[in-house]
Symmetry: D2
Subunit: 309 residues, 4 copies
């Protein structure tokens, strides 16, 4: 196995890029390229393709490869690109990881297995198998709301000790646990901690996070970058002010419920905002997610205007 | 769209067939054929391939096609064959459904989407899309432990009204709700109700189920068939006696925990029993599930002997 | 400590008696006496006072004593009377148990502690303390929906071995687990198993329950008694027919939601039915439960009429 | 009704005071007085008696009155005293509230009802009834881990609008939701927000909390006060440093599990620390909570020494 690079260069704002679709549910390449340019112009420090926000589990292997091909071509090495390799079990994850390696991704984002319920010992086995199969750095992705199991602190500790993972993306919403992790990892300069709690970025950075993976970063990447910069210079008043505006802007993600699922309201809200902003052509998600209707779209437009986007 | 056949001929014991593996995690064709012969010899009324017990979510599209090819060839039309088409979202499910149609399956078994959280309205949208895409009868599969959402009674009612589903496999463990469903469907001769509560088959049949999908049926299909026959002649004392023996036999599924997950203990226990019985060559599951160790395997052998298998 | 009587004489239908209230939230003695006469006339085999259906946790010590005084006086020894002693922790439970002993109850019904989260070892400690303090037989009450913890099978096994409990009331809704318990206790003639799954009484009796504690038994005790009698003579067709009518009648418990909580809809529905039947004067529950409004009351009356009550 | 005072003077560190016990499970008055002196010497800004940490639900009405009598006497008006009035339902809560008023408490802390499951509308009804019955300011206590229901943001908004509550103690662990609340309440100078997330006090204060209710404050009140002071002068580096030491010290609360419940480990750990520090005579909790054993006590002593307590 070739040498696994660390992720120790990773930091800052790494949005999970949405996947614009054609009416036939194919990848809308032109729109995806515009979104990526929008993010790079906003100053983001990396991109996360094929995450939950990308609707990754809706895509088969071919579509995922296409997304990576377009994204890596458009980024052209300007920032690191992480690729989610999310599917229910080990060997299917390894297939996606091999595709990500072939496409030129800089790192993998790996969840626990799902559908089947898995023990913490089996989760470690899963990461061992991916590590052994594909020489790319791995960010563990803790997202119990989707996979029904938490990556426990003892599990992460064991995986760090074995050298199975180089970082963590924490979308568990358990900020206290995230802090305990950050405190535990303080002496490990190589291990990278990213939060998915996009409404708590200032506090996450204050307690030791290296960055954030904000879905709302698709809509206003520059604001998240400004928040990160304020935090780096320990200007917490400014950081909080920016975060509070982003909380107001996050209302774009809440207009679909309860008519739609929270997921369809959230990712669908980001897509709707990007359409209102003229960046993507269609705002629908993959089936069976219900798209925002015209009334909900109108509310998204009002929120964007109110926050100056 | 061609005419969708009903499932109204389905009844009785329809085991979810395990998938024996080679050491390289490929399908062990000879072992799979032996398991199917064992089930047919036991008198089962149908087979369910590519269900949770088949480790379906661990398999990519090619492996799933291979399983169906082998199974349908081995069955040779003697009993109906249902094919699970289980993956996180609609279009991937439709791909599997098209494969099942091409392979010659008699019906589909469809869960709610998973990983992403989906509303009941979006679940109905999901079934609508599968129905429209593939002309095969559909059995809805209620398995909240895996997909995190219940197929609510109102949802099932709506789907029955729209003609989107022809039956239900209930693996929710909520037997009271199952009974309310059965009572609600009493006048609908076409709609088929199967329980996955394999330790409650006598009572399920008493309250209106048309059959059962027992994982333990891989190990002792004839006993489940005898239980079904006793229930059909309303000989509840015999039915209960057989069920109580099967409960004791079910201990083969409980030997791995807490070292393994419950799933690895259960399906792994069935596989281990089949290996002890000389029907399959290897007892391991797909990665990352931990296989039963030699001590646990010894306990499985003791249980089999005690129950005369 | 005096000798603890067994509960081995307990069987059949033991309704959890509602507590009719005055407008000032006191016990409406005349109405309570009428309800008890109605139950005894229906042929019930025992009464359970101060259970969840009695709104026990809404009452202080004095009110509970008053309920027991009235009930024991009205019953006058004709059937056994169980007293719930339900409060968050051990010493308060013991106070209620002493009151129940003084009042003349025949047995106690004891839940796990609640509010505070308690380990299975601490739950056993709790039952040990109650056992030691008060010489009355104890029925363990498994009701995780209220106390957030299940009485695990290993816990119940340990408590049976130590002689801490004489029976179980299972309101967990986990009918498979109840069956495994029943099978485990088959050789223990003294241990009594009652189900709270009042829509599954025929099947519960078929698999080994000694009786049921049905809230709906307040409304139609004679039907539950007839169901029990049918089950005793193994006339399962009749048992099922009676159960299916009771399922239709159970709709009286579902008219308040989602305006009210399920609890207020259920116990409030029983009370409303009893008021419509002329047995109690007021149908409201203790605060803060919302009472059924006039439209919901109208629907309850329609259901009663449809089922001939 | 007399005028309800606001809680607008409340701020800072308000520990939930433990209740030291005698061997016979009575209140150990001398020890309780020493704990209170220890807290006042540490500079705390208020005291919360009869909270979860006080083992309130284990105590009957008389014992609760005794705790309040001792505490209010010992405090002698030097800081505000809040009294928890925690029991399953409205009228019992009102009884405790009347006792708290009679004892001279400065405010009430009120949870949602528990044991019975209650709708958000019924929760509002509950607070309305308490408000109407007792003229003391009310802090709503959001503790879903104990009462199984969250005080939703819409519920809190409605209760603020109606003037039913003057503040919130948030022990839900959902820090994102707490932040959204804080942002929503920014213009309401009267409404007081306290966090129970005692390992996240610096960040909670940064995003708008007025103070914290830390169980660990029993052990090291001065450190929490120093943390609060650092936050007030926006010295976040110092605040974080103090918080990180307190996280290490919090290990005293984790030594009992999994032998004991988490609750017994936590409150039992605080009590054990106080005993090691010579402040209280006995470290056991009320029944059925298991006390820390000598090995666990030894570990607590080591932790205290390591952190200089």
């Amino acid at each position: 196995m070739t040498h696994i690079q660390s992720l120790s260069h990773l930091h800052g704002i790494i949005p999970p890029v949405v996947t614009p679709l054609t009416p036939e549910y194919g990848v809308d390449e032109a729109s995806l390229r515009r979104v990526i340019q929008h993010l790079l112009s906003g100053g983001v420090h990396g991109l996360f393709l094929l995450g939950s926000t990308s609707e990754v589990v809706f895509m088969n292997r071919e579509t995922r490869r296409e997304v990576l091909r377009i994204a890596l071509d458009e980024v052209a090495g300007r920032v690191p690109v992480l690729a989610g390799v999310i599917d229910p079990a080990t060997d299917r994850v390894i297939e996606h990881a091999q595709d990500a390696l072939a496409a030129g991704a800089d790192g993998l984002v790996v969840t626990a297995p799902f559908y089947t319920r898995t023990s913490q010992a089996e989760i470690i086995e899963h990461f061992r198998a991916v590590r052994q199969a594909v020489p790319l750095p791995i960010m563990a992705y803790d997202i119990p709301v989707c996979v029904q199991v938490k990556l426990e602190r003892t599990t992460l500790r064991q995986m760090r000790r074995e050298g199975l993972i180089e970082g963590l993306k924490d979308s568990s919403g358990d900020d206290t646990n995230f802090r305990l992790l950050a405190q535990e990892c303080q002496d490990d300069a190589e291990f990278r901690l990213f939060t998915g709690s996009e409404l708590m970025v200032d506090t996450a950075l204050m307690i030791g996070a290296h960055g954030c993976v904000p879905g709302l970063g698709n809509v206003d990447p520059a604001a998240y970058v400004a928040l990160y910069d304020a935090a780096r210079r320990e200007d917490w008043r400014s950081a909080r002010q920016i975060q509070e505006r982003l909380i107001r802007l996050f209302a774009v993600a809440l207009q679909g419920t309860p008519r739609t699922s929270a997921g369809a309201s959230g990712v669908g809200g980001f897509k709707t905002a990007l359409k209102v902003m003229g960046l993507i052509t269609h705002h629908h998600m993959n089936r069976p997610n219900l798209p925002l209707n015209s009334e909900e779209t109108g509310r998204v437009a009002v929120i964007l205007k109110a926050e100056g986007v």
